[in-house]
């Protein structure tokens, strides 16, 4: 796979892979990221993008001056790892009122009923390509093209935490009340990031995610957001 290593400022390096949304490319990025974490480089953070790996180093530490060459050899030789395949995560979603205020817009985009839009969202298994933006936010793809509406023309100032959203072929769950331009089609009762949980983060890059539908009653009985 075509690979290029570039400096990203004076304290990070970027490994670039072919520019497309492709599970194989993303899996290769994860393999390289794992190999970097196991290496002797003075690494502070490793962040997987759709088709990139950014490696943050302490530029004054021993070995930092050779980081570029080291990364090139790691990128060329990183072996496949078992965890690049990712875990399977099953996530409950309530699509009932009032949790999916943009469901009608998404259905209109797909010229289908709201029920059909929900069925399309439920039918696929999604890959977590990137975790970023805010703690625990997973960029998942690919959504059925019939409901792959572009971002809202005006983003919301505050999206309720737990909102399940779609935009431009991606889907995700807002882990905190933040501004957001995606279409809200449901609500997830489980927190993607919970500092008090043994494993605070629900998603890692490479995970495979399935959604299953719960009723408003089940949502209120299980919500971790204090909105029962």
């Amino acid at each position: 796979m075509n690979t290029r290593v570039l400096p990203a400022g004076d304290s990070a390096w970027l490994v670039e892979l072919p520019e497309r949304i492709d599970p194989e490319v993303n899996a290769r990025a994860i393999e390289i990221a794992r190999a970097v974490e196991r290496s002797a480089l003075p690494v502070i953070d490793v962040v997987v993008g759709y088709r990139t790996v950014m490696v943050f180093v302490d530029p004054l530490a021993d070995g930092a001056d050779r980081a570029g060459q080291t990364l090139e050899s790691i990128a060329a030789s990183a072996a496949p790892t078992a965890d690049a395949a990712g875990a399977v995560v099953d996530v409950p979603v309530c699509y009932d009122e009032p949790y999916g205020p943009d469901l009608a817009d998404v259905a209109a985009f797909g010229s289908c009923s709201e029920g059909e839009a929900i069925a399309m969202h439920l039918a696929r298994e999604y890959r977590v390509f990137v975790v970023g933006f805010v703690p625990g936010f997973a960029y998942m793809a690919s959504v059925d093209p019939r409901i792959a509406a572009p971002r809202r023309s005006t983003p919301r100032v505050k999206v309720p935490a737990g909102s399940v959203a779609v935009a431009a072929g991606q889907t995700g769950i807002y882990p905190a009340p933040t501004p957001g331009g995606w279409h809200l089609i449901g609500r997830c009762p489980v927190r993607p990031y919970d500092p008090d949980r043994t494993e605070p983060f629900l998603f890692r890059a490479g995970d495979r995610v399935r959604f299953h539908r719960v009723s408003a009653e089940e949502y209120r009985a299980s919500t971790q957001w204090g909105d029962a």
Partner: protein
């Protein structure tokens, strides 16, 4: 020992050197906008560099000592009083129990660090006490908050007095390296960025500075597939108006980036306020690393 917040000021937050090791799951580093002055204030009171201190923004707070404490203020030049007495900046001063620390007029710079000997003993989140407002990790201080003083001590005795940061006065020229998406912009865009002056707009905060100035044209699309964004990178949405990402920026982004402000100059950028100008001077990787070593030396009191 505690410091009680009487008036919080415009935006006062607890910061340490930030969260490390969690950017891969979307957790921003956060930490101070001016890392250099944070370290200097901690050094001045005998704390380790990571100790939690207060970042004070533009309008300073009023705090009351509950127990005798030793503090130091570095970064932006404020008139600071302990009780009725004016205290020196970049040096330790004692505050008797019941006395108040008041921040008055600000002469230069936008953000000051107030360190207390022993550090602020707040619970850590993912190994750090750094406030990250958007993630609701910590929050802006409010009147009535009581901050407990901890027992952190630096190893070894202090050396020579560190050299304070040269503060911007109305604006600053910072050095840049070409970013990973440099080739997604026209040559003219790079020329403009490195020759023209930009202004920090009021839509600027700890996450980033929205800049206003000559538009930077993309050679192709402005959007990229989401990838990691380092602090100090300049991203450019389709409007062509650059955004300089600062301490509290999100871990990933979707706009092409044209340049990275070098790490050694980020503290200077962190001292800019809305309305200030900023200029970008290209430099080499070697110059960037030499400048960073120069900062380390300056913390030990050595002039470059």
């Amino acid at each position: 020992m505690r410091l009680i917040v009487i008036k919080p000021g415009m935006l006062t937050t607890v910061q340490d050197l930030g969260r490390r090791g969690y950017r891969g799951v979307g957790v921003p580093v956060s930490g101070p906008m001016d890392v250099y002055s944070h370290r200097l204030a901690n050094l001045a009171v005998g704390n380790p560099p990571m100790a939690a201190a207060l970042e004070i923004t533009i309008l300073g707070p009023e705090l009351e000592a509950d127990g005798d404490v030793v503090c130091a203020v570095a970064g932006a030049e404020f008139e600071v009083r302990a009780g009725d007495e004016l205290v020196p900046l970049n040096a330790p001063f004692a505050v008797k129990s019941g006395r108040r620390i008041r921040f008055g007029a600000r002469r230069r710079g936008a953000r000051a660090t107030l360190a207390v000997r022993g550090g602020f003993d707040l619970p850590t989140i993912l190994g750090s006490r750094a406030t990250h407002l958007v993630s609701q990790m910590g929050r802006a201080l409010k009147a009535g908050d009581a901050l407990h003083v901890g027992t952190e001590r630096a190893d070894g005795a202090g050396g020579a007095a560190p050299i304070p940061l040269a503060l911007p006065d109305g604006g600053a020229r910072v050095r840049v390296l070409p970013a990973v998406h440099r080739e997604r912009f026209t040559g003219e865009a790079w020329k403009r960025l490195t020759n023209e002056r930009y202004v920090v707009t009021p839509q600027s905060n700890r996450m980033g500075y929205r800049l206003e100035g000559p538009a930077l044209a993309h050679a192709g699309a402005a959007d990229i597939l989401s990838e990691a964004m380092p602090v100090g990178v300049i991203q450019v949405p389709a409007s062509g108006q650059p955004i300089l990402l600062m301490a509290e920026c999100a871990t990933t982004g979707g706009y092409a980036t044209i340049a990275n402000v070098i790490t050694a100059d980020l503290p200077v950028a962190g001292q800019l306020a809305p309305g200030d100008w900023i200029e970008f001077a290209p430099c080499t990787r070697d110059e960037a690393l030499t400048a960073l070593r120069g900062r380390e030396a300056a913390l030990k009191g050595e002039r470059a």
